[in-house]
């Protein structure tokens, strides 16, 4: 039997025994001591400390931008928690999850705005919407009842598309041409001017208010899920994710359990939708589309599918990174520090690291000098942004003054080819090829990926897509999740 690759589930090996040495190792030294102390803290206390620390954010800062990002992160965390039930626990690929979020938001908009003149308070709308979205989830799940595996992915993807089509064109709907046309969804402009979140006459108006609303809801959802996953149903979900056939043999009602998970997820998405709609004060069809779906999938997979803590960690990591990438100066810091940290963590021994870093710097300056001497227009361009690192990069990375787009496009394709090649070849060529690849990545970052506002948006989403592929191949259990052991 060949040696199992690290990170892959090992067949027929008990995980606890297999990792005994690594565990021993990780318990030594100061860090090991701290880790051991941390592992002894019960779940409940860890959760309490985390919520307590997060609750301090509005006390420590009154910066509206930070608060806004925090509220968005909480909403993302709620969505990922809901998706985790469907994908992580029940193992169903739900590609229409965002549509349930949208249905929740649109229902809130119809029930609490001037659009139809209905102004219900949240104690009525929220239970209604949660039950309603869960019911829609039930109906949708029933259509693929007989083949709940792959077909659910197709049906839900179509459902998302149908939701976008209906909301975008729903400004003049008539029932089969029999009734006069009414404006239901406001069309591409959506429905603006929603009521603030009002519960028992108490109105939430400030960002701090929404922050605590989001935090409270998240605490509640995590508590419910924590209990649910330990219940009979939760254990059944785990069983059918690992092996549906065996679960069925144990006389578990597999399809009913799957539908239940699907409804659970839809309900949480609907609940989150009401909060998001109230926070935004309006709903627009473009906010509930594929990009959001990929974002929350990336959060779930990065954090570790199947883990409650992972869902929250993934939401925080990705939302904060996406915010950082919005500003070219901050993005540049992130880009170069990620490269540096990866190199330091992965390259051993130290002289190899030093050689790569040294030749990288020399390579850049030499190339700039040679190109500058031979062909002045090749280096005449300007770097975007102007902080310290931006000026430092200016002389290191080539900035073509002419044909920057064409050179950037060809470089991008070449970069993808080089990165793929790096994963195949072995040392020493790998280390040698690493230098031009990193330099080309820096070149592309400066000249194509961060070149314009549109390019930055595309870059953020492209990176999310790449992250999903890389994570699935390299670390399917994410940051927090546990490796799955396959027993034969």
């Amino acid at each position: 039997m060949s040696a199992p690759e690290p990170g892959q589930p090992q067949i027929g090996v008990d995980e606890w025994v297999a990792t005994a040495d690594a565990r021993d190792e990780s318990h030594r030294g100061v860090l090991g001591h701290l880790r051991r102390r941390f592992e002894r803290v019960p779940d409940l206390a860890r959760f309490g400390i985390f919520i307590g620390l997060v609750a301090l954010i509005p006390v420590l800062t009154s910066d509206q931008y930070i608060l806004r990002v925090s509220v968005d992160t909480l909403i993302f965390a709620l969505l990922v928690l809901g998706l985790n039930v469907v994908v992580g626990w029940a193992g169903l690929l739900d590609l229409g999850f965002v549509a349930f979020f949208g249905i929740g938001a649109y229902s809130y908009a119809l029930l609490s705005s001037d659009h139809f003149g209905i102004h219900w308070e949240a104690q009525f709308t929220v239970p209604l919407i949660v039950a309603g979205t869960a019911f829609v989830g039930l109906l949708l799940g029933l259509t693929s009842w007989r083949l709940l595996g792959d077909y659910l992915a197709i049906v839900t993807l179509f459902f998302l598309q149908a939701f976008v089509v209906v909301t975008t064109n729903g400004s003049s709907i008539s029932f089969l041409g029999l009734t006069p046309t009414t404006d239901v969804t406001g069309g591409p402009n959506g429905i603006p001017g929603l009521d603030p979140f009002t519960i028992f006459g108490f109105q939430i108006q400030s960002l701090e208010g929404y922050f605590y609303l989001g935090l409270g809801t998240m605490t509640l959802v995590i508590a419910v899920l924590y209990l649910a996953v330990r219940s009979r149903t939760g254990r059944a979900w785990h069983a059918l994710r690992e092996d549906p056939l065996a679960a069925e043999l144990m006389s578990m009602p597999v399809n009913r359990l799957k539908l239940l998970a699907f409804m659970f997820g839809a309900g949480i998405a609907g609940l989150t939708g009401t909060i998001q709609a109230a926070l935004l004060g309006g709903v627009f069809p473009s906010s509930y589309d594929v990009p959001l779906l990929i974002t929350i999938y990336a959060m779930l997979i990065l954090g570790g599918s199947g883990s409650l803590a992972g869902a929250v960690v993934g939401a925080i990591a990705i939302n904060v990174s996406l915010e950082v990438l919005r500003n070219p100066d901050h993005a540049r810091w992130l880009f170069y520090s990620v490269i540096l940290i990866t190199l330091v963590a992965k390259l051993r021994p130290w002289w190899k690291l030093a050689a790569v870093l040294g030749s990288l710097v020399a390579f850049g300056y030499a190339l700039s000098a040679i190109l500058g001497a031979l062909w002045p227009s090749a280096t005449g361009g300007e770097a975007a942004g102007g902080d310290a690192i931006g000026r430092g990069v200016q002389s290191w990375v080539v900035h073509p003054a002419e044909h920057a787009t064409q050179v950037g496009n060809f470089g991008f394709v070449l970069l993808i080819a080089l990165v793929l090649l790096l994963t195949v070849i072995k040392d020493p060529w790998r280390t040698v090829l690493l230098v031009p690849t990193i330099y080309l990545a820096a070149f592309e970052w400066e000249n194509l990926l961060m070149a314009s506002f549109e390019a930055q948006a595309a870059t953020r989403f492209m990176l999310l897509g790449a992250l999903l592929v890389v994570l699935m191949a390299a670390r399917p259990h994410g940051l927090v999740g546990k490796t799955r052991v396959e027993a034969v």
Partner: protein
Amino acid sequence: MDWEFFVQQIVNGLTLGSVYALIALGYTMVYGILKLLNFAHGDVFMIGAFIGYGVLQLFGGAASPNIPIPLLIVLMFLAAMIGCSILGMTIERFAYRPLRNAPRIAPLISALGVSFFLQNSALLLFSPNFRSYDTFSLYEGRLFLPLSVGPLHISPMRILVIGSAFGLMIVLTLVVGRTQIGRAMRATSHDREAAAMMGIDVDRVIVITFLLGSALAGAAGVMVGLVFERVFHTMGFIAGLKGFAAAVVGGIGSIPGAMLGGLVIGLAESFSIAYVSSTFSDLLVFAILIVVMLVRPRGLLGKADIKKV
């Protein structure tokens, strides 16, 4: 009832349907062998359309081509098919092969990531603007001048597209039905482990499946460019979704099923655009899909498979 209009919709439906059928073939072949829904397939189709556009521009554009037009069109098809085959094989090698023995959901999520990566890479490279093949300028628009046979009006361009689509489907049927590698593909799709035990190189079969499927998607991309002219970075999403629906309606895993499903979806779409509503034609495709799944979950031509343990 206006018969000429009705016949016209059949022609439109056949054009759309042959494109959907070509896309559906790629889905269905990959699903047959790997049991994987390859979400990135629609984006391979989009890249094919852009490769065709690139070749067209390379030889002077449609307004003033500097090589003979038939040769130009052949070159566009060849470049798109070869480019997409390479892309498809790369995706298989780097995104799906490492996950061959992972849980079922892992390659699906990876496929989702590849699709999103390709779509946004295209956005980065080609900007969000529509590109036009501008094929109307070829032969001063005579390719779009309808030829009339009785009540039937059909332009040479549509004949070209429908004809080459059916030609490709016949070639594929022959490859799968008559050649050594086709037999290996059928065996692998029937039972991968047993095929491996019979000495079939399963990895090679999978690579060739991706090669064939992606080449068909690339050809479909050029066809859409030739007839509908506009190409853009999100065109792969909707077309991929319709191709999916076609594959499921025909019976996923079945090659004649994918062709039939493509035509059904294409005709349904063109008739609903003509007689019902153009904005909600996507919903009709969705409705057909749901009905087929409720009534005949294995699709029109699919066989019920026996679950082996």
